[in-house]
């Protein structure tokens, strides 16, 4: 398993739980779950690039 695959899986499952527990209606649950998933993955990509540039 690649590191990115691990990040995506982590983001996917955590977002499902966040969506269900933090919102009340199904529509808002789905929207919040997608929002969390995008934030998880995007922040992982951005932080990876930052660490890559710092390490150079």
């Amino acid at each position: 398993m690649t590191h990115f695959a691990a990040v995506v899986l982590f983001a996917f499952f955590a977002s499902i739980v966040f969506g269900i527990t933090q919102r009340e209606t199904p529509r808002r649950m789905i929207r919040y779950g997608i929002y969390c998933f995008v934030l998880f993955v995007a922040s992982a990509i951005v932080l990876s690039w930052v660490m890559y540039l710092i390490a150079r």
């Binding site: 398993m1 590191h3 899986l9 499952f13 955590a14 499902i16 739980v17 269900i20 527990t21």
Partner: protein, 140 residues
Amino acid sequence: MATEENNIAAPGNGSQSVSQQGFVYLPLIVGWLVPGGGHFLLRKWGRGALLSGSILAMFALGLAMQGKIYAGAHDILDILGLAGDLGNGLLYFVSRIAGWGADQVMVTTADYGTRFIVVAGLLNVIAAVDAHNLRTGRKS
């Protein structure tokens, strides 16, 4: 008293009250012991299945990545890891009895696996509290 009849105002309607009987902490306890169990108890089948599937999948992925199950606490990070692992409820105790999980983190993915197991426990606690909120009427 938790075991007595609890009259809780329905959200958005102050004049009506929802009569609830039984032990209000039961969904919290069942939800902690069995991922999604609190929601199943409240007949929230869809939510329970999704929560259960997500938490079990994270726990199983953690084990598949040779993640470590914390057995004791030697320093502050171990205490936090143990607290997270305990959030898995029965899964943690079954894992300890069956000897699942690595004793030591040997590869990078095992470190990720350890975090997966800890986070699965923390998510399970969030799900159990959500079941409790549904039970008390704080959430619809």
